[in-house]
Symmetry: C2
Subunit: 317 residues, 2 copies
């Protein structure tokens, strides 16, 4: 901890998510170090700008780093390293963590999907890893310029199975920092349940929005696709249940009803696909599918969606 009593943070990946959360923490007085790539020069000189329903702000002086090596040389050891880039960039994760983590540094993985904490856990030990799901509508609209549209809640928990079932003191400390910054951060006793519950939405809507080139309203408007959405949700629930994580029937009903009422929404995966960026197919589809198969259950429709997305993903880039 630094003098202000809060924790210090490294933000690995200053895109929409890292820029917003890191920016809010810095605005609230926390010590925050940002790892950037293409925006490094720009943000070093011009700082970071955030437009948000929580108040627009501009951080004129930002602690910027151009690479993990740069961080390892100039950055003091931080309390928490936040993995804020997409899982598609995880090839660089192990090396980055090895370079920048001190012996006590906690790694908080804020990525989509299932078991995406494993890389960090293999690197620093599972007992030093936390994971979280973000419910966030936010875009990077220019260099060092983040546009926060709506939402922002984070649900997070301990990754190590031995620590599951608890809200640990360090979770409370981190949550307090985020909450002081204006972020609705909720500690959860069961990270696995947080992740599977989010997959109930992400698997059908991310996948079908890409394969059928449709937004959420179009998917829910036609009975065949709405039925397929529901079939996929039930497969996710069955897979979760076989993996020891029971999801309430009411959660499926709520996801369907909430989405029907939502304004037409383009999933992040569809935006990636339309922009020809690699999609997070392994994190969101491959890992849950493999977990289900390992538990003796073959979710045919999830498998088919995974096969279709693998095909489409290789046509990118």
């Amino acid at each position: 901890m630094n003098e202000t009593g809060g924790l210090s943070y490294a933000i690995l990946g200053t895109g929409a998510l890292g820029g917003l959360y890191g920016g809010l923490l810095a605005r609230a007085g926390r010590e925050v170090h940002f790892l950037l790539r293409s925006d490094y020069e720009y943000v070093s000189q011009n700082g970071l700008r955030v437009d948000s329903p929580l108040g627009d702000f501009h951080l004129s002086s930002v602690q910027c780093y151009a690479s993990p090596d740069d961080m390892s040389q100039r950055m003091p050891t931080v309390d928490v390293a936040i993995v804020a880039w997409k899982t598609t960039a995880n090839d660089a994760l192990a090396e980055t963590l090895t370079k920048i983590c001190g012996p006590q540094t906690i790694v908080l993985v804020l990525q989509n999907g299932l078991d995406i904490e494993r890389v960090a856990a293999d690197c620093v030990g599972a007992e030093r890893v936390l994971g979280g799901c973000c419910f966030l509508c936010c875009n990077k609209v220019g260099p060092g310029h983040i546009q926060h549209v709506d939402y922002g809640r984070i649900a997070f928990g301990e990754y190590a199975r031995e620590l599951s079932g608890e809200i640990t003191p360090r979770m409370q400390t981190i949550a307090a920092d985020f909450q002081k910054s204006g972020i609705d951060m909720q500690p959860a006793e069961d990270l696995l349940k947080v992740r599977w519950s989010k997959l109930v939405w992400n698997i059908p809507y991310n996948g079908l929005s890409v394969v059928l080139n449709a937004d959420t309203r179009q998917l829910m408007h036609h009975s065949a696709s709405a039925t397929l959405v529901e079939d996929l949700m039930r497969e996710v629930c069955e897979a979760a249940s076989r993996c020891g994580c029971s999801i309430d029937e009411a959660h499926v009903t709520k996801m369907l009803e909430d989405t029907r009422r939502m304004v037409p929404y383009d999933s992040s995966m569809r935006l990636d696909f339309l922009a020809r960026r690699p999609m997070e197919v392994e994190a969101i589809f491959g890992n849950p599918l493999r977990a289900a198969l390992q538990a003796g259950y073959r979710p045919s429709k999830i498998e088919m969606l995974y096969q279709q997305l693998c095909f489409l993903n290789q046509s990118i880039g």
Copy 2:
């Protein structure tokens, strides 16, 4: 039969398929009556032109009809009515057959899919219905202008279950007419097996080529899509088997190998989709799926492909 000793034919739908087969029969001296829609004026005045590896030809005088009413008023009773339009036009079939068939007229349904003879059977009685699958690469490239690219084989058989297992005399007579015209027409003892065997190819390649916007080479090139093709083929075989029709494992292997060796091919369904014409989703997917469900088997991936195609089909037109 007319004086020439051959049968007389009505071609219902003078598109690529009807124009080619009808044109070849007429060239060989058979009495052929063509039902047209948009091309009626043009063909009445200019005749029918066919470019084909079997020899290019032009029929300057063609017996044309503008509507079923027109046929019922001017056309003599024919021996065989060939249903040559797509199943998506079948709304008009019952009324058309009622108007144009005499008490002895045989109906030969040359359409894709499963159990698409049912409309004709309900109309004239199953014992007067034959069905066939065409293996044909042919396009209509202009009014009254057919371009036959390759293939052309027809496998056909009796629709009535009581006549299944036989090559009936009328099948032999019809096949002789077609063969004299240059068409490789093969009588089959088991129409159901002909239809299911063709679905082994049509279900994966027609469906995935539309949903994944890919030709056959692209589908076979990537391992995820090639595996999915094979999964779907196996579901078709299992569905066929549950419906009392056993398909050899070797057929799947042959279909996969043949398609790998084929030049990149756009399925007719993909061409329909790209041209925003309605796709034959019910004939090729809905009917086999319902047959499987009725036999107590749920082919999940066929069902999902059907759901996806229903969604895409409603976005057309």
